[in-house]
Every structure is written in C-alpha cells, then in structure tokens.
C-alpha cells in the first residue's frame, strides 16, 4: 500500500435490491490533491461518498481511506475526515464561537486546542466582530466559509465537500476556492462535488460518474483534450447526456 494515497477504492459497489447504485468503481486520490467528483443527479455520487465516509457498508469491493479499512475501521475513518454539504450543518441558534467549541469537542480536540484553533479560525475569516453573534444571522457565503473552516478544524486527512458553493455569489465562491487551495497546500486532501463546471477546472483531477460507473478520470486539461471540448462543461454534457438513468 502506498503512503501518498488518501483514497484507494477497488471495485467498490453498492446495490439496493436489483439496483446497482455504484458499479465497481476503482480509483485513487493522492494526499493533498483537489479531487472533483462529478456526475449527473442520480449517477451514484452521494451513495459513493457515504461509503467513502464510512456511513454505508459497500455490497462488495474494497476501499482504504486515510489508511483505514472501510469495513473494519469505519469509526476511525469518521474521526479522520471532515465533511460539509450545501445543506448547512452548523447550529443556526448558536454563536460562531459556540459552534466552534461544539464541533471541536465532537472531533475530540482538547479544550486548549479548541481555543487556539478557534481564535485563529475567527481571525483568518475576519469574523472577530461577529464571533458572539448567532450563525443564523450570517449571509450564506460567510456561513459556507465558516462551515468549511470548522470541517477542517481537527486537521483531517480528507475533507468531503458536497456542493459547497451552491447558490453562493461569484466573488465568495472564488474566496471559497482560495480556502480550498490553502487547505490542500496544508496537505488536506479535498474531495469535492459541484454543479458549477468551471469549478471542475480548478481541481487537480476529476472523475465523471454516469449510471453508477466511473466513466473517466484524469486532469481537466487531459479530459478536454481527449474529448476535444473547450470546457469541462462541454466534456460533462458530452458524457452525461448518454446517461440511461433519469433523475435525482
């Protein structure tokens, strides 16, 4: 097993009855890589992410996440990853500082670390004046930046971001991506899904899922070259339009 890999998945499969939601996907993600996990609604992305986070047991196949086995060490996986989604996961009726303390505690940080990392986080986001305000009062873009910072407060090996920038204004979306670059530079592997396909071009490598299968997997530049398309949006439309599944 290679030490510089954050995710190793081999023939990972999930069936619900006769329905094959995820069909034998095989891929590797390097440590510190920004990996774009693309696919149409219903392609099986969410099911795959749930398996990779240790929340759903695969029907068959193997996966090693941050060095931990997906079957026998799922609790260790949960401790060593971060997760945020478009569905805002912080407590709206707690202050910024309270949310940091709460999640720091959940992730098992010591009080002392929560204090120092929390202050640093608040400072970096320039939220000093709002630290004791309710999170629910913040604009969406600020909430998402805060949720991301909290999702990596325990320095996880991997952070999973499920459509983190949906509905966020274009300037804040770019600030959010700067935060992603910084996290990756710190060695955190970033696993991200998005429907904004120009964001796919910010990833080191991307995969495209269609009907439960991983159809292709490369750098955005190579994919655009291979399919002879000017943008990732065109590549995506070209591949996903042949999907047989309709839907969610």
């Amino acid at each position: 097993m290679s030490d510089n890999l954050a995710i190793i998945a081999t023939d990972l499969t999930k069936k619900f009855g006769d329905f094959v939601a995820v069909d034998a996907i095989t891929f590797e993600v390097k440590k510190g890589e920004i990996f774009g996990f693309l696919g149409a609604n219903g392609a099986g992305k969410t099911t795959a992410i749930k398996m990779l986070c240790g929340l759903s047991r695969p029907t068959s196949g193997q996966a090693i996440i941050s060095g931990f086995d997906i079957y026998s060490q799922s609790e260790l996986i949960k401790k060593n990853i971060g997760y945020m989604s478009q569905h805002f996961s912080l407590y709206q009726d707690m202050t910024i500082r309270e949310n940091i303390r709460f999640y720091g505690g959940i992730y098992g940080l010591k009080s002392k670390d929560i204090k120092t990392r929390g202050s640093k986080l608040i400072q970096e986001l320039e939220l000093e004046d709002y630290a004791d305000r309710f999170v629910g009062e913040l604009p969406l873009g600020w909430k998402q930046k805060l949720a991301f910072s909290i999702a990596i407060i325990h320095n996880p090996g991997i952070v999973f971001l499920d459509e983190p920038t949906s509905g966020v204004d274009p300037i804040t979306r770019r600030q959010f991506w700067n935060m992603i670059y910084k996290a990756a530079a710190r060695g955190i592997t970033v696993f991200v899904t998005t429907h904004y396909l120009e964001e796919a071009e910010y990833c080191n490598r991307v995969s495209i899922m269609v009907d439960g299968e991983m159809r292709d997997f490369d750098t955005p530049r190579e994919l655009m070259k291979k399919y002879n398309k000017p943008t990732m949006n065109d590549v995506f439309l070209h591949m996903a339009v042949r999907s047989k599944r309709k839907g969610d």
Binding site: P170, T172, Y196, L197, Y202, T231
Partner: protein
C-alpha cells in the same frame, strides 16, 4: 405584463428587497439572476400573492396584485423553489387536483403540457414523493401550467440540478415561450442569463442592472484580459503582488483581469515570466455575465452585513 413599482420588504427588520422597479413585457423570457439571499424569492412571492410588500405595488396586466389577488391567482402559474406538491398523491392525482382547483380539466389544457407530461406518463400511478428529482420538477411544472396561465413564475427551477438536466429544462422553457407564455425565472447560475431575453442582476435586495444579456456585456466598459497558465494559483498570487489596481480572479482554466487603465500585454507577460510563471499567455477577451456581475458587486458594495 408584469410591473414592480418601488417594492420593499423586510423580515424582522432585515431588508430583503429595497425599492425594486422593473417590468416584464408580454411574451418575454425574463431572468432574475443572483445568489441565495439576493431577494429573488421575495419578489416572486409578492407577485404571486403569497406575500405582502411593506412598500410599493406589483401589477399583473395593470391590476394591483394585492387588490386583485384572485385574478392574479387564476392567470399566473407559480413553481416555488421548494417541491410543494402532495407527496402521497400519485402523479396523475396531483395534476388532476390542480386542474380541479382551477376549475378546468387535464384534457382542456393538455396541449400546453403535452411535451413535458408525456415523459411522466409511464409513472402516472407512482406517488409524487417517490419520483426522482428531475421527474418531480417536470410534474411541478405541469401542475403550474395546467390552468393555462399567461405568466409562469419559476423560482430557481434548476438549483442543485446537473448540467444535462438544466439544459433540458431550458429547452422546455424555450418551447413554452414559443407557445406565448410570459416567463419569469430566477437562477443563481450566471451562465443561464444568456438563455433569457432580458435579465435583472440582483444582489442584497438591490437590482444591479437590467438589460439584454448582450447589452449587459456591452456596458461592461473595460478591457478584459485572459491569462492562461498551468499555474493558476501562483499566477494569481503574482498578479496580486504586481499591482492592486486591477481585478484578477480565476475563471475556469483561465484568470481574468480587468482594469480601468489599459494594460501592456508584453510588459505584464514579461513580469509574470520573471516571477516563474513561464508558460503564461495573455490575450484580450470578451467578458461573460459573471464578470459583469462581479464588477457590479464590487462597485455597489457598501456594507456586507448589517
């Protein structure tokens, strides 16, 4: 067909929209483009008579939507952002229910929804709650159209929807427009602006600009340069060091720069190469709606947060 005049609305003291004025002509496909929290849903809810404005008036065919709310409800179709059909009724039952409420039948207005509903027909007896996202959306659209409204109001119909389904949805809107339906649609995806006849760019409850998509691009008024390199992040940091007089930001696989002053491309290229960005290419480019939106956001920006 639709007019907003000096509309303002606050929620518990937080302003959602401020003094909004615009009109939508008959037969137009009009887009309200902006991020979450911009005030798009508030405007649509006022127009569709489910919310009262604090100040101002909205009109549908010159009738005040507050005074004549029954008339508005009979003649406007509304598809809210959140799926609002009956989850435990079947596809067919939902459609029949909405037809009955509006005193009509499925058969009477089937022409208008035929292309959309045909795709649902194999699942007619399935409960709406058990449909996939794309199918729910088609059913919601069918239900919003079953009383043959003159104006169709769609609140973020493509939010969280993948690029393929988004394209299909816009094709459906185009064919509805061809049938004479006036359409107001909101979206956070800037690239969808190009598919509208006219758009209003909206942010923090204020309209930044109203025009045709091409008109907005023509009004950008500054030269935009595209920087292409494999080292986007390093190039962005380098550009920040060289000058703070321009706006430089990533845009897909490129960096876009614009400045009120004109740039010497050869000089800038030389500077970037000397800073280690040795593969850099710079050329003059055409702005997109998203460039215009960001420029307007920066120049309008007063207070982020109250």
């Amino acid at each position: 067909m639709v007019r907003f005049e000096h509309i303002s609305k606050s929620y518990e003291g937080n302003p959602a929209v401020n003094d909004i004025n615009f009109r939508v002509e008959k037969g137009e496909l009009f887009g309200l483009i902006g991020p979450d929290g911009a005030g798009k849903s508030t405007l649509f809810r006022i127009l569709t008579t489910v919310l009262l404005p604090d100040v101002g008036h909205a009109y549908f065919k010159d009738r005040d939507v507050v005074d004549d709310y029954r008339y508005v409800r009979r003649n406007v179709g509304y598809m809210p952002g959140k799926f609002s059909l009956y989850q435990d009724l079947s596809v067919k039952e939902n459609l029949k229910f909405f037809a009955t409420i509006f005193n009509t039948t499925i058969a009477e207005n089937y022409d208008l929804i035929k292309d959309i509903y045909e795709q649902l027909e194999p699942f007619e007896s399935r409960r709406a709650g058990a449909l996939s996202g794309g199918m729910k959306q088609k059913l919601a659209l069918s239900c919003a159209l079953i009383h043959k409204p003159e104006v169709l109001v769609l609140d973020e119909p493509t939010f969280g929807v993948d690029a393929v389904s988004r394209r299909e949805f816009w094709d459906m809107l185009k064919s509805l427009k061809a049938k004479g339906v006036t359409i107001l649609v909101s979206t956070p995806y800037m690239d969808e602006a190009a598919l509208c006849d006219r758009v209003a760019l909206i942010q923090d409850g204020n309209i930044l600009k109203i025009n045709t998509p091409d008109g907005i691009i023509d009004q950008f008024g500054k030269q935009l340069y595209k920087v292409v390199t494999q080292h986007i992040y390093q190039a962005l940091q380098a550009l920040e060091k060289i000058s703070d007089e321009w706006h430089a930001y990533s845009f897909g696989q490129e960096i876009h720069i614009y400045s009120s002053k004109s740039l010497n491309i050869a000089d800038l290229k030389g500077q970037l190469v000397s800073m280690g960005i040795d593969d850099v290419q710079i050329e003059i480019g055409k702005p997109l709606i998203e460039d215009c939106f960001m420029d307007l956001m920066v120049s309008e920006k007063t207070e982020d947060y109250v």
